[in-house]
């Protein structure tokens, strides 16, 4: 067992030993198989990687290190502007309810964000202790300490104002939609959320590695949000399938679109339709939706791209029992969208990395993937913007693989929004400074506008959208 893994996962990391040889006895042929591990192994590989503070004292040691900065850099680096020094101070005074309120008032998904945020480039990255070459305050961990209790014990932190007789339809129960709905409902607006899936949470529930945020937590978080009252989620309701924008416009005082982004970007190379070529979003979705044993994974898996989704796909492929996982990225570490912390997750899970390699062609036999051919790239001299574009060297490398997972970005729902006469830019919705689309009364925010950013950005977009809707409502009322 790899010792590094034990740092994060007390029981170590389970790979398919006897079980896989049992399934493929004496066989050298590669195969995409499900059910590679035992139940215990799956549970172990997909348990929450975030170690909680075991005790109050342990949390206080860290909380008491906080300097309580004024106009704090951590807060300024949080897209939702959580007053971090304030909530940490509240932890030190045993005012955990106050701490949870401070967090959740600014970010209703503060619990989930404390698990999935790339804090090393946000709050913790800005902590002034970094300037002293000291470890930053473990802000995310302290945030979990407070919010997990709030969610688990269902603290009624928020009270809804009496109904003002207004109705808003929100499309998408992801971070943007839930955040928007919560702000609106607190102000007495009745909100109905239309969600295409059977669970709320959006990408938090369907698009992030299960070991970062467990399915149970996602469900609890959504329930915590809706426990405010005034928010109804209607599941299996998809815009363009069994729901039209016109219906919503007719039935509600305003509509908020938080529809997110769709499938993974096409690579545009030969062989992309071979069996064994997977969309990372679909792969991650299946893990969350179907359960770990049901999701097949190859023996030798290549993951294309190096964003958060690529890391989540690669690590989970490994944790599902893939023997070899190789991440292929066309630039270098300096340009990667993933953070160092994320990259280390993949490295600790034993994933291989090939830098400066761009997929050229996927080869197959009998319709199934057998090889991935990549162009070997090099970085050009920086252009005027300082960006170094990868260019082909003419050399290629060939990887023997039986599965290719595409994680080179996601594409917006261009067809859907265009069909609804919504102004967009390659599918990304255009909104004005009041979060309103070209259609009056239809607002939007989150990934469907920004093309795909962090959960915390979507939460802020939802807040902004709700405030814009409230402002417009009050303006109308005053007319």
């Amino acid at each position: 067992m790899r010792s590094e893994n034990s740092l994060r996962k007390p029981k170590g990391f389970c790979v398919s030993h006897s079980r896989s040889s049992l399934l493929a006895p004496h066989s050298l042929t590669m195969a995409i198989l499900n059910n590679r591990l035992t139940t215990e192994q799956y549970e172990q590989n997909f348990s929450d990687i975030h170690p909680p503070f075991e005790t109050r004292e342990a949390a206080l040691v860290e909380a008491n290190r906080c300097l309580f900065c004024y106009d704090a850099p951590c807060t300024k680096s949080c897209p939702t502007s959580i007053n971090i020094p304030k909530f940490i101070k509240q932890i030190t005074t045993d005012n955990l309810k106050g701490a949870a309120y401070t967090i959740l008032d600014a970010n209703i998904m503060g619990g989930g964000c404390s698990k999935v945020c790339p804090v090393e480039k946000l709050c913790e990255g800005a902590c002034v202790y970094n300037l002293l070459d000291e470890p930053p305050i473990p802000i995310a961990r302290l945030q979990r300490y407070s919010t997990e209790k709030a969610i688990a014990q269902k603290w009624p932190l928020f009270q809804r104002k009496p109904s003002v007789g207004k109705k808003v339809a929100v499309v998408g129960a992801g971070p943007a939609g839930l955040s928007c709905a919560h702000v609106l409902s607190r102000e007495g607006v009745d909100v109905t959320i239309y969600e295409k899936e059977s669970k709320g949470g959006g990408l938090m529930t369907y698009g992030i590695a299960a070991y970062k945020v467990t399915p149970q937590f996602c469900e609890d978080e959504v329930n915590f949000i809706t426990s405010l009252g005034g928010i109804t989620i209607k599941y299996d309701q998809e815009l363009g399938r069994n729901l039209t924008l016109a219906e919503l416009q007719a039935g509600y005082d305003a509509v908020y679109l938080g529809i997110g982004v769709g499938v993974a970007r096409h690579l545009g190379i030969p062989g992309e339709d071979l069996e064994g070529v997977e969309d990372a979003i679909r792969f991650i979705y299946d893990i969350r939706e179907k359960g770990y044993p049901a999701v097949p994974v190859g023996d030798k898996v290549a993951v294309i791209g190096l964003g958060m989704t690529a890391i989540d796909a690669a690590t989970q492929a490994k944790r599902l029992g893939a023997k070899e996982v190789t991440i292929v990225y066309r630039r270098t570490q300096a340009e990667m969208p993933s953070t160092e912390v994320e990259l280390n997750l993949a490295k600790l899970d034993g994933c291989n990395l090939i830098w400066l390699a761009s997929p050229k062609e996927i080869l197959g036999e009998n319709g199934r993937v057998t090889q991935l051919i990549c162009n070997v790239m090099e970085l050009s001299v920086p252009d005027t913007s300082g960006r170094r574009t990868p260019v082909e060297t003419g050399e290629t490398i060939t990887l023997d693989v039986d599965m290719v997972i595409k994680a080179a970005g996601q594409i917006p729902y261009e067809e859907l929004v265009t069909n609804n006469q919504l102004t967009n830019w390659y599918g990304k919705l255009a909104i004005n400074e009041h979060c309103e689309t070209n259609i009056p009364g239809v607002f939007a925010g989150g990934d469907c506008v920004n093309g795909g950013k962090e959960v915390v950005d979507a939460v802020q977009a939802g807040k902004d959208g709700a405030r814009a809707i409230l402002k417009k409502m009050s303006e109308r009322a005053n007319e």
């Binding site: 206080l60 040691v61 909380a63 008491n64 300097l67 309580f68 900065c69 004024y70 106009d71 704090a72 850099p73 951590c74 300024k76 680096s77 030190t92 800005a126 002034v128 202790y129 300037l131 002293l132």
Partner: protein, 450 residues
């Protein structure tokens, strides 16, 4: 090194200790030994009269660890202690910034105490053995107790006129120390009988320690020690709503000690060190001494020996190593060969406010290379009074700079800054000459205009 010695010897812990101590001394130049009215100790550190000094088992281990002396826990009239006895004040995660106790004097039988004192003196003749006393309020009782204690071979007596709880209800402890006339009378009784040096321990639970200090000196005491604990309520339990320490649903005022009381003790010590009557006798300093730095400060303000209790109750006798070592290194750095080279050296520097030089002016300077942009200086100055720090917005890091015209040189920004030497106070005199408040007024110089 230590292990090798321990493996090679079976000559007992105390011998081992003196050997390792001599190793320490070979590295250091300075001489830490003190002679307090003829009571000699190898270093100025005595354990104060308190639970760590209430029996032979403790005292021998303290001596083995290297303590210079002890003041044996107060002997006197028969008492019985309760449970619980202590409560504490924690601060930002640091435990026991202040300790409060409601324990009375020794509740062990007198004859056992006396026998054990004698044994300790015999085993460690080079260490100071002072015995704290609090007899019932008659001349005979005091005489009787003194005679018994002197028979043990103890080197000195300390009169407990300071215990602020319990004993006061019987007219003892602080009840004596709070009334200069009674204190003087008791000291006179003691001096009629005592043949070894007598130290009178003062209570801080008075508006000034000087009147009782003077009365004690006039009554003949050979020395003074201060402070005893300060009457306190450390806090109220927010679940039970009963203050701490909790004794069957009730509490009682206790005596406060530990690091929190040090500044108060230093002030009281200084008043004794500066008074023309009380400064005639040596002083043993007490009150929150936890480190060699604290000890050096007490000695600079007039203490010849220092007494430690709370720090030992929290960490054990082992802290003596750094108490000695740190003091020794500091003395070497400063060129002090013996403790007498610096005892009392800072006393004259504490003066009257109206003698302070108004022309002395300092302004803060922020070293931008060291600044970590926490903004603590800014908000302290902004919300305190002076608004002398400028904030230039940045994301995520603001820049802070001093508005020198507005800076009054108060030190607050420097005090709250978490980075050493990031903020320094730079001298910018208002005038070359010394100018005090009286002269300032006489000349009719202008006051602040904003």
């Amino acid at each position: 090194m230590k292990e090798r010695i321990a493996g090679a010897t079976n000559s007992g812990i105390s011998n081992l200790h003196s050997f390792t101590h001599s190793l320490f001394h070979s590295l250091n130049m300075a001489d830490l030994s003190t002679n307090f009215l003829g009571i000699k100790s190898p270093n100025p550190y005595w354990l104060a009269s308190a639970p760590p000094t209430d029996k032979k088992y403790n005292v021998l281990r303290a001596f083995e660890a290297g303590w210079g002396g002890v003041v044996w826990k107060t002997l006197g009239s028969q008492v019985k202690n309760v449970s619980s006895r202590y409560s504490a004040v924690d601060y930002n995660g640091t435990k026991v910034m202040g300790l409060n106790n409601i324990e009375l004097i020794s509740d062990r039988p007198l004859d056992i105490n006396l026998r054990e004192i004698a044994e300790c003196v015999r085993e460690f003749p080079d260490r100071a053995m002072v015995v704290s006393l609090m007899a019932d309020n008659t001349r005979e009782k005091w005489h009787e107790l003194i005679a018994q204690v002197e028979d043990t071979g103890a080197h000195g007596l300390e009169l407990n006129f300071g215990c602020p709880h319990g004993m006061t209800e019987r007219g003892m402890g602080a009840a004596v120390g709070q009334d200069p006339e009674i204190a003087k009378m008791v000291v006179e009784w003691v001096m009629e009988k005592a043949t070894i040096p007598v130290i009178t321990k003062l209570t801080p639970n008075v508006h000034s320690v000087v009147p009782t200090g003077r009365a004690s000196v006039e009554g003949g005491t050979n020395a003074l020690s201060l402070i005893n604990t300060i009457q306190s309520v450390t806090g109220v339990d927010l679940n039970t709503l009963v203050p701490n320490p909790y004794v069957a649903g009730k509490s009682v005022y206790g005596g406060y000690c530990g690091p929190a009381v040090k500044p108060i003790a230093l002030k009281m010590l200084t008043t004794i060190a500066q008074d023309p009557v009380t400064s005639r006798v040596p002083i043993s300093g007490i009150g929150g001494i936890s480190t060699w730095k604290d000890a050096a400060e007490f000695m600079l303000l007039g203490a010849t020996s220092v007494q430690v209790c709370t720090a030992v109750m929290k960490h054990g006798f082992r802290i003596i190593d750094d108490l000695c070592d740190g003091l020794n290194n500091w003395m070497d750095e400063k060129g002090f060969k013996t403790v007498y080279d610096f005892i009392g050296k800072s006393v004259p520097t504490i003066t009257h406010w109206e003698d302070l030089d108004i022309n002395y002016h300092i302004v803060a300077n922020i070293n931008q290379d060291k600044c970590i942009h926490c903004g603590l200086c800014y908000i302290a100055c902004e919300d305190t009074s002076h608004q002398a720090i400028n904030l230039t917005y940045g994301k995520p890091y603001n820049t802070y700079s001093i508005i020198e015209n507005e800076c009054v040189g108060c030190n607050l920004c420097k005090l709250v800054c978490p980075v050493d030497d990031c903020i320094t106070m730079v001298e910018q005199r208002k005038g070359d000459e010394y100018l005090n408040w009286k002269e300032f007024q006489r000349r009719g110089l202008p006051l602040n205009d904003h």
